[in-house]
Each structure stands twice: as structure tokens, then as C-alpha cells.
Symmetry: none
Subunit: 125 residues, 4 copies
DNA sequence: GTGGTCTAGACCACG
DNA sequence: GTGGTCTAGACCACT
């Protein structure tokens, strides 16, 4: 069963987008297996404190991408093809790092200052 | 006159938010002076390919923060006070770094791997 | 439920202003109760043939005046406190009468002629 | 020369509309003759404290309706056909009175109360 | 279904 | 030309 313990809402982007991104990142990280069970709409909605329709929308789009499939009643399962995991992981890693580098440079933060910040925050969380 | 050459729309977040963030980053980086001219709504909307109203909304919110001053019929200018620069710079640096660290951890990227990526991309761009 | 059957768009003034004025007039006339249901944005927009956003703007301003209360996802209701009814009624009566008197004088209509017109039309409608 | 002494801005409607309405009402009242001179754009703009472009827009629309004509340099003159004055005056009188009656009834103001208000305000202004 | 927000286009008043 | 406002349509999150 996929855990959402580490998931937190913090963006300006739509909630259903954040859920989709989270699941994709977890798959990319390898922390979600193939054929793993997905929390029910109701359960996840209660856990995250958002509306069931919002969960429904996220799941629906993931289904259309073939990342989760509904089977045997209401339960849904992931459908992770092994060869794509590494590709997605790499894409997400690179794009995220590029964005941070870009931001730091734009803010005029030097390499050393960035390094210190990185170390400090890596420990904290 | 503030340049938007390096600005690109790439997020899921609202366009006016991206514009606000961009200007704040530029201010935090010190690349926007006090009393510098701001592109007109029409000019910037044409450059970015969005509606003038979207620019208007971003500028209006920046004006409420005291970062821009506008007079009807006249051009608009920045109003950058020294003490706000540091505040904005710190806020943006922390939030950006936190988000990257969070993403890296979620992707299962280790500390050393993350730092190597960072160093490589820092050189490239 | 507030009825908009008698409402007609006829002014040069903004539509949302006409809606606000209409509701205030109805409140002043006592034909709108406290805690009475307000038509939904979509329903009223379809009825009047205007955009839902225009209704939204009118309702939003009435909410800021404390005349309407809204909760996301739920229906909206009036919030008519006894002391505001008299204030609104007086404001509307005075401003409307002043405008008529001004127009009559500008048109060179004498006092008696004006009054005769008034009496005649009062009976007709 | 047309006088604008009694003109005051008070509506929600556009300024150029108010100017047009004022002139039409004055013509209807017979207080503007045929071939009477109209104030210059510059002069009227200074008198009313509004932008010359706004005056220009009002005059332009009045020209298109044939109510004023430009002659001999920059000066403009009214062009009032005698037979239309009475018709316009009647239309304006009736519509204004009807609107007041409608408002008073909607506010639940009785015939006697309306009469008192009318008398009081007629004297005041 | 509900209310709320974002983006868009046209118009108004001003320098 | 400038900034500001009004109306419009699509989308998001919630009951």
C-alpha cells in the first residue's frame, strides 16, 4: 500500500497536480513497486484533508497515463514498467536541480553559500 | 527599464505568480534598481504572449507590497527599499533550497549524488 | 429564494452595480428577508444573460458590506440586520429623488407639471 | 455660448455619456438655441476638470448624431431642429419620471411620503 | 450542483 | 502612448 506520510501541500499549483507529481516522483525513486495497492479515494481524501473529487481527478489522470489501474472492485493498483522508472527518475532529478541552480544564480547566491544552505537543510529535514 | 529577456513561463503555478516571483528574484539579486522603469502592461503582455490583465494583476499585487508605484496614465516605477531586499532574498533562497532538498529526498537521491549533480550543472550554465 | 423577475438591465452603469442596487432596493423595501436564499451565480447569470463572473463580483461586494454570506460549495444567504434596512432605504430614497428633481429642473419642467406627471404615472403602473 | 455651470459629475456612467446626456437634456429643455456656440475642448476640459480627450469623445459622438457641427476653424455650434426638441423633451421627462416612480414603489415609499420628499428637495436645490 | 480564481479582450480616463 | 475597470469563459476545489 502506497504511503502518503511524507506528502505535504505547499505549492501554488492545483492539488490534483501535486498528487500526480508526488506519485510520479515516488515511482521514479523506486519507493513504489509494481502492482502495489493505492489508497482508496475516501481514505486518501480523509488523510490529506481534501475533497474526494480532487483525489478522483488525480487518479483518473494517472489511469489515463496507464500508471494505475482499477481492478477487482474498487481497489486500484500501480502499473510500473521497470524500464521507465530510471528514465523518469533522471528527468525529474535533472529538471529539479537545474531549476534550483537557476534560482540560486538569479538570486546572486554564490557556490559556497549554496553549499552551506544545502548541508544545513539536508540535515534538518 | 526592467528586462524580461530571461523570463520563461514553465510552471503549473499561475502566470501572475510567476511574474511576481521573477521580479522579486531580480530585486533580491540586486539586478533591479530603485526607481527603475517597469514595462507597460501592453508591452510586457505582448512580449510574454499573455493578456494585459494578467500583467495588471501581478503589478497590482506588487504595488500592494510597496514594490511598484503606479499613477494612472503615467509610467510605473520600482520602489526598492534597502531593508526589503535582504528579506526577500532570504525568503526566496530558503524556500527554493527547501523544495529542492525535499524533491531530492523523495526521489531517493543521496546527499553525495545530489551534490555532484549540483556542481556539474552549476558549471554548465 | 430571492426573485429577479422584475429586474431589467436598462442603465449605462455597470451591470454588477445595477444588481447591487436592485438587491439593496429590495432589502430597503422589505421584500427580502433575513437568511433568504440567493440565486446561484450560474442560475442568475443564465437568467440575466450575463457572465457568472459579473454576478460573482456583485455578490462579493455585497458580502463585503455584510449583506450576503457565502461558503465555498454551499448556497449563499442574505444577512439583513434590522438597523441596516433603514439606512439603505433612506440613502436610496434620497439619491433617487434628488436625481429626478435635478433632471426635471434641467429639462425646464415646472413644479406643478412635474407633480402632475408623477401622479399620472403613479396610477398607471 | 452654452453654459456648463449647473453640470455636475455624480453617476457611475462614463463621463462622456454624462456630457452627452446633459447637452441633450438642455436642448430638450429649450435652454440651448440653434446655432449656439459650444465651449472649446480645452476650455470645457479645464472647467470640468476632466481630460480633453473625454470632451473630444463626447463632442465627436454628438457630431455623428448631427447635434453639433464644426465650422470656421475650431469653433463648434449646435444644430437644433425645432421639431425634434419637443419630442426629445417629452421622452426624457417621461422616462425619468417613470424611473423615479418605479424606484419609489420598489422601496415601498407611499404616495404621500414621496410628495413630501419631492417638495422638500425641490425647494432645496 | 455550489462558490472561488485565472486568463482573456474590450473599453474608459488620463498624460 | 499610460494605468484602471468591466465583462467573459474556463477551470479548480468543495457539498
Amino acid at each position: 500500500m502506497i504511503s502518503f506520510e511524507e506528502f505535504i501541500l505547499d505549492d501554488d499549483s492545483p492539488i490534483y497536480m501535486q498528487i500526480i507529481r508526488y506519485i510520479k516522483q515516488r515511482i521514479a525513486a523506486g519507493s513504489i513497486e509494481d502492482q502495489e495497492e493505492v489508497p482508496s479515494r475516501r481514505a486518501l481524501s480523509a488523510l490529506l484533508g481534501v475533497n474526494p473529487n480532487t483525489i478522483q481527478k488525480a487518479y483518473h489522470m494517472l489511469e489515463e497515463e496507464g500508471i494505475i489501474v482499477s481492478r477487482s472492485g474498487a481497489k486500484s493498483f500501480t502499473c510500473v514498467r521497470a524500464d521507465t522508472v530510471e528514465r523518469i527518475r533522471w528527468e525529474l532529478t535533472v529538471s529539479s536541480t537545474l531549476q534550483w541552480v537557476k534560482t540560486m544564480k538569479q538570486l546572486g547566491v554564490g557556490r559556497e553559500e549554496a553549499w552551506e544552505l544545502f548541508e544545513k537543510m539536508w540535515e534538518e529535514r
